[in-house]
Symmetry: C2
Subunit: 226 residues, 2 copies
DNA sequence: CAGGCCGATCTTACAACGTACGATCTGCCT
DNA sequence: AGGCAGATCGTACGTTGTAAGATCGGCCTG
């Protein structure tokens, strides 16, 4: 009746466990003792492989970025990239968004990481390379990176919070709101509200692709012809 | 030697104190006991005016949004809005960005707020109204809101983290990085790095205005003529 | 003026967290 | 067998959010 030996701890196993917890119960549930329990060990054992909790969180970002790299650079879905630069960049953005959709806790972490893990640079380097090949100046490429990055990471807010609408407000207050904000009411009324695979009620795939196209076309118009 | 009577607690005074702490020492320093100390009272006294810490944080968002409303809607710098819709929207965006620059901890909070305070709707309602007057469809206005919102809130990341460069890496490792990411190196080299009034090293005013113009012009091109 | 009532504040206490410090265990080399 | 070093654990402390109830102070009523 010897207890089955556990697999040895490692930074990778720890990060995987943390990601699993974050996916299942949210980022706030990622705690030292919680991760340890998931790995059937004590909290203090983690510290041999991870400096402290801040670095564990940075590690989470690293895992997500690795996932982005795997699905957009190392083996992109439609084979190697070719054709218009916009199609290449668009495919990568949609891939990155897919990863974020699988890990809804990630965008704020990535956007607000105090320490940027080095693999992040690979993503940006690839994007800049594609743009430079398409005739971009470094300055324009830099600005493009910012525009694209803030799109992928910022597309998370809930404009019309369902909690507020359903729970805490009476019908009277709701009607008052609709009266005070007629335009927003009109927008909300015209929404399909099929929030199945989206980060928020009004963050649908079509909308993301629209804004993405807007930015990419705008950049393309500013690009010196090649 | 009677102790000078303290001003009575109130939700507003509590929120103001919390904002002051966040501005001075960062969001992590906003703690129940800390806020209480600032107000010369005990931590538990706050709970009479604020439900719990989550609602206190929501209150912080509320304060920031109020500041945005005050500086962009109630008394905008250049008098009431007129002229091209892009100029109106641009002025409001720059005003909102100004507020965020004064409270660098705010963007992630606003972007990730679990509960959207109602005054947020006023900002969006005003933006949509301006666009509808300019001939936008509700659908286009909705998408525009998303594009603009993610710009203002997402423009915060540090692409090239100064901590990494200066501290933890040896010169060899630094050279290796520069070799692995030549394009990023070129961009970094061409940067002025006067990060005085910006949220991050490569988040300058000019760059923000560039991306903003890109989005606004793109939207304008899609707008039905009036 | 006495008594009581109620909104506002405080005291105490507890669970959960991150983690410093040192003890312990385990496999390998001599 | 002896010991050495890498890996894991036990204990304990400070800090956090907050539940439960005690206490204060001003105002109204009798």
């Amino acid at each position: 009746m010897t207890r089955t030996a556990r697999a040895p701890l490692s930074r990778e196993r720890i990060l995987d466990a943390a990601v699993a917890i974050a996916d299942a119960e949210g980022l706030a549930a990622v705690t030292m003792r919680g991760v340890a329990q998931q790995l059937d060990c004590e909290a203090m054992s983690l510290y041999y492989h991870v400096k402290d909790k801040a670095q564990l969180v940075t590690g989470l970002v690293e895992v997500i970025i690795d996932e982005v790299i795997a699905t957009t650079l190392d083996n992109p879905p439609g084979g190697p990239q070719a054709g218009d630069w916009r199609d290449v960049v668009r495919a990568r953005c949609l891939g990155a968004r897919h990863v974020m959709l699988r890990h809804p806790w990630a965008p704020p972490l990535v956007a607000n990481a105090d320490q940027v893990p080095p693999n992040t640079y690979r993503v940006f380097e690839a994007l800049v390379a594609t743009m430079i090949e398409a005739g971009f100046s470094y300055d324009l490429a830099h600005r493009a990176i910012h525009a694209i990055g803030s799109m992928i990471l910022g597309f998370t807010q809930e404009l019309f919070d369902p909690n507020v609408d359903t729970d805490e407000l009476s019908d009277d207050e709701l009607a008052a709101l609709a009266g005070a904000f007629p335009h927003l009411g009109a927008i909300a009324a015209s929404q399909p509200h099929d929030a199945a695979q989206s980060l928020s009620v009004c963050d649908t795939q079509a909308e993301f692709e629209f804004t993405l196209g807007l930015v990419l076309d705008g950049l393309d118009a500013l690009r010196p012809a090649v």
